[in-house]
């Protein structure tokens, strides 16, 4: 059957335009638009004393200059706290243009609009801002110490103290046969999509309506924010995400100041205005993530079974908290991973620093959570002299325990209940895939070649597909074309293909007839956005439900025409036919025509639906409760998130002359339930692993103590090239989700989650020194190896070390 495409590696439909240069990204739109450029703060913390624009005024081509004083009404108020939470006791957000103070390098202070970007930058350069510098707070330790405050009225720098517990942890720790306490760090990285952010605004002065294109992951919410801030009725604002060159989380944050200021300028000037972020702007003004300090106390028995876990995290939220405490909540709740932990307590202090805001980057608190839990497992194994896999196996939630209630509250405000999974199955597959039992031979072989080899592993459980909802609209046209729309956006995930596969399969039409639109508020105005590995789960299921609605209606109409029972009909290749009676059929496109009773025959096909061809005058043309058109809109709103899972292992080889760390093998076992398109899911895993390796070995945001980002370019921020990314071997497991009609779980973020933990474990295994701070560079590893105080692992004691380590 040609139309059952669910689960097939269908080649992507979006590629046809993207491989010939016909994509339409933000900066490809509006060549005649005026260009905006920004004066941004060069200081991490300062009072803005004066803004002198005089020098810019004679720049030929200058159109307008805006400062805070030009903002009125809601635009003059702080940016929204997008996700309020009772534990977010001291939320602070910036202004679209700085008001009185700046709190990080890169904060926008002045917007310049000119006839082109070069000229806008010329003018911006001539604007003189006078600052009174204030002390900068950089890093979680400085924030925690609170010798200085980022915000005057938050003297302890704590924006939120997030706390969850599943029982009384202190007595449980006191009663534990063993306890361990340790501290570890993880650094900042960033989403760093190849396309930065960008906004284009068109104001129709006659219609008093605004069309905004923005490289966003949440067009419906950007629309609502623009309407609120610019005091427009929602129906006068449309927001469209065009082709978006990668998101990875940074574009789920919104409204960015530019998403409000550019439309404001377009309205104000009566002209199209565009801003495309450059790479330096992206480094210093778009969000980062990941920095945490983690203090972990674990109790366990002689067999390595956990008895209690107590974790305190200091989470660097940057200068403001527009995205609330989503990352702290995710770290807190995803930390337990696939393990059955009798008593768990976690506290995450989210702290202000004078650095760029911290909002989700692929994984969103999970890589840190995994790092905390998995390194704990490694420590327990080391103390007890057990195999690291064995310790994990002894603590795994068993298949018989699903649904597993973790007694925690997730980022969607819903309980953390693992819906399905097979964690021992993951572990068994992982050990096979990486050759866990043969690790010592690999080590011996490497030693003979003068290299240090280590193996590490990490497991995770990922809450995916959080609500509140997504919707789908499916419409069959008289031409036979099937239009599909959903409100969430795409940044390379292949939604045009996977959603078309779902509709082709559900409806029984050729995929070539299906056309998918995402992220366009004109086509679907109700949506949440693309984040948290939710697009396939949420929109996939909503679209499936909408397609089922269309199918039901089509069968009903066709049954009338064919004088058959709907139950006896099937749709195949776009034709409705009586099962087993070839020839008794009607094309779906004709059903679409008939579904809309007409007075006027505007084309040949329409004649079939006009009033004098109607054959049943006993009922009105459109029956009560029915609607014209072969279309259906439906929504999927889950009770709670669905939990995907996986296990990764890394084999590293280290050269003791240069301390270069080479990941020579990387194994992934992945379970995201039913898979719509395995080719696309595998691509997501590949990309995630590359970001995981980058985060473990190369990428960091190198802020100095003044809050200056020292590596704000691709020359200095080491994003992996092909030469840094290992070959990845992948095995799959499928435990369908019982929560949604398609049985799917999210796959977008999984690949990145365990990278830091698995690679830290492998390096530690290779060098026999405790790794407590990630990422780690060859220089840092060299320093660690030269430090006589560096803690040696117990496992390394019995091992013959290379002469170079003596």
């Amino acid at each position: 059957m040609t139309t059952k495409l669910f689960g097939e590696p269908v080649r992507r439909r979006e590629d046809a335009r993207l491989i010939v240069g016909k994509g339409r990204y933000l900066d490809d739109i509006g060549h005649n638009a005026l260009a905006a450029a920004f004066v941004r703060s060069p200081h991490a913390h300062a009072r803005v004393v004066d803004i002198d624009v005089e020098g810019a005024l004679d720049v030929e081509g200058l159109v307008a200059i805006y400062t805070y004083d030009d903002l009125t009404g809601p635009m003059a108020e702080p940016l929204p706290v997008l996700i309020p939470h009772p534990q977010l006791t001291a939320p602070r957000t910036g202004y679209s243009l700085a008001y009185e103070k700046v709190h990080h390098v890169g904060e926008p202070i002045v917007m310049v609009v000119a006839t082109d970007r070069y000229i806008a930058e010329d003018a911006a350069e001539r604007i003189v801002v006078t600052y009174e510098e204030l002390p900068a707070v950089v890093g979680v330790d400085a924030a925690h110490e609170a010798r200085h405050a980022v915000h005057d009225d938050v003297p302890d720098n704590v924006s939120a103290r997030h706390h969850q517990e599943t029982g009384d942890v202190e007595p449980a720790l006191a009663a534990s046969p063993h306890t361990l306490t340790f501290t570890q760090y993880i650094e900042r990285s960033a989403s760093m999509p190849m396309e930065g952010r960008g906004v284009h605004a068109h104001w129709d002065a006659d219609d008093r309506s605004l069309r905004v294109y923005t490289a966003t992951q949440a067009s419906t919410s950007v629309r609502a924010a623009i309407a609120a801030k610019l005091e427009l009725s929602l129906d006068k604002v449309e927001v469209i995400a065009p082709d978006v060159g990668g998101g990875f989380g940074v574009k789920i944050m919104h409204p960015w100041p530019e998403e409000l200021l550019v439309p404001m300028a377009a309205m104000n000037l009566g002209a199209d205005v565009k801003w495309s972020e450059d790479r330096r702007e992206h480094f210093i003004s778009s969000a980062h993530e990941r920095q945490q300090k983690q203090e972990i106390t674990v109790g366990f028995d002689d067999d390595g079974r956990l008895t209690a876990l107590d974790v305190v995290v200091w989470h660097d939220n940057g200068a403001y908290t527009p995205y609330g405490i989503i990352i702290p909540i995710i770290t807190a709740t995803q930390l337990i991973g696939p393990y059955d932990i009798p008593v768990y307590r976690v506290r995450v202090d989210s702290v202000y620093t004078n650095t760029v805001i911290v909002t989700p980057y692929r994984g969103a608190g999970r890589p840190q959570a995994c790092y905390a839990m998995e390194r704990t497992m490694d420590r327990i194994a080391d103390v007890l002299g057990l195999d690291r896999a064995v310790v994990r196996e002894r603590n795994l939630i068993q298949s018989s325990q699903f649904p597993y209630d973790a007694h925690l509250t997730f980022q969607d405000g819903r309980p953390v209940v693992y819906d399905s999974g097979d964690y021992p199955g993951l572990m068994a597959k992982l050990k096979d895939l990486v050759g866990w039992s043969g690790a010592e031979e690999l080590r011996d072989d490497a030693t003979a070649r003068g290299k240090l080899l280590g193996v590490g592993m990490a497991m995770y459980v990922e809450g995916t597909g959080p609500g509140p909802y997504e919707g789908g609209h499916v419409q069959v046209l008289g031409s036979g074309k099937v239009l599909v729309a959903t409100g969430l956006t795409s940044q390379g995930q292949g939604h045009e293909t996977s959603f078309a596969q779902i509709v082709a399969s559900e409806l029984g039409v050729p995929i070539e007839d299906v056309e998918v639109t995402t992220g366009d508020t004109r086509r679907f105005p109700y949506a949440v956005g693309t984040f948290a590995s939710r697009a396939a789960v949420m929109s996939g299921n909503a679209i499936a439900l909408a397609a089922r609605g269309v199918r039901e209606k089509a069968l009903r109409i066709a049954a009338d025409v064919l004088e058959a029972s709907p139950d006896d009909l099937e749709i195949e290749d776009g034709v409705v036919q009586v099962k087993g009676v070839p020839g008794t059929s009607i094309p779906l496109r004709t059903v679409a025509v008939l579904s809309n009773p007409l007075r006027y025959a505007f084309d040949e096909a329409a004649k079939q639906a006009t009033q004098f061809t109607s054959h049943d005058d006993s009922k009105p043309p459109v029956a009560p409760g029915d609607a014209p058109g072969l279309e259906h809109r439906d929504y999927y709103s889950p009770l709670r998130s669905t939990f995907a899972s996986g296990a990764h292992a890394a084999v590293v080889e280290i050269d003791p002359a240069t301390w270069e760390i080479d990941v020579v093998k990387y194994a992934v076992v992945h379970d995201c339930g039913n898979v719509v398109n395995p080719m696309i899911v595998e691509g997501q895993v590949h990309g995630g692993v590359a970001q995981g390796v980058g985060g473990a070995l190369y990428e960091r945001m190198a802020y100095d103590s003044d809050g200056q980002l020292q590596n704000a370019s691709f020359m200095d921020f080491l994003m992996p090239y092909a030469s840094e990314v290992p070959d990845v071997v992948i095995d799959h497991q499928q435990t369908p989700s019982p929560l949604n009609p398609l049985g799917i779980k999210g796959a977008g973020e999984a690949g990145v989650i365990p990278g830091t933990a698995a690679i830290a474990s492998a390096i530690e295994d290779a060098v026999g020194r405790r790794i407590t701070s990630m990422p780690i560079s060859p220089t840092e590893l060299y320093d660690l190896m030269r430090n006589p105080a560096a803690e040696r692992t117990a496992a390394s004691a019995g091992r013959a070390e290379n002469g170079v380590l003596a």
């Binding site: 080649r11 992507r12 081509g61 190849m194 590949h686």
Partner: protein
């Protein structure tokens, strides 16, 4: 002080086989001139400091980063962009370069933003080699090693290079 008549030049450049003329400020980057003056938006700009390779085009057949070159530098030369990579099939359609086909077949792109740069670099590499010779991993690494991609993890891009080379070997 800014773009004025005496800081502009009119250049003649053959773009994708078609002679074009443009009057551009002397400081205008080739990438901006292609995208905004000639409307060829297939060339993407990812970093504007020559590291990511998204803006790679061919100048007289060699890959260059169009964000590191001024438009005036291509006066009198031939530029090929991703829009010019496919050949006319003489039947009113386009015949994709094998590397374009391979990218689609091997799922070597996700968001597609870096893709034009990879396509141009790899196409130049493949077109210059003897299609009959066995493609080595070193050659593949050379062809993909200088461009950044944030989506794919490069595995499928490498696969696509092999796929394209095999197609070219078949078709030689």
């Amino acid at each position: 002080m800014t773009a004025s008549v005496d800081t502009e030049r009119t250049i003649t450049v053959t773009v994708n086989g078609v002679p074009r003329e443009a009057t551009v400020p002397v400081r205008r980057l080739l990438s901006d001139a292609l995208r905004h003056d000639l409307g060829l938006t297939g060339t993407h700009v990812g970093c504007e400091h020559g590291v990511c390779g998204a803006c790679t085009v061919l100048v007289d057949g060699d890959p260059v980063r169009s964000c590191l070159m001024l438009a005036v530098q291509v006066d009198g030369r031939a530029v090929t962009t991703v829009e010019g990579l496919a050949r006319d099939d003489k039947r009113g359609g386009q015949l994709l370069h094998p590397v374009q086909e391979a990218f689609r077949e091997c799922h070597a792109l996700q968001c597609g933003f870096c893709t034009p740069g990879f396509l141009m670099t790899i196409a130049a590499g493949l077109d210059k080699r003897d299609p009959a010779a066995e493609l080595t991993e070193e050659e593949v690494d050379d062809m993909v090693g200088g461009n950044l991609c944030r989506c794919t993890g490069y595995a499928n891009i490498k696969k696509a290079v092999h796929h394209a080379a095999a197609t070219m070997k078949e078709r030689q």
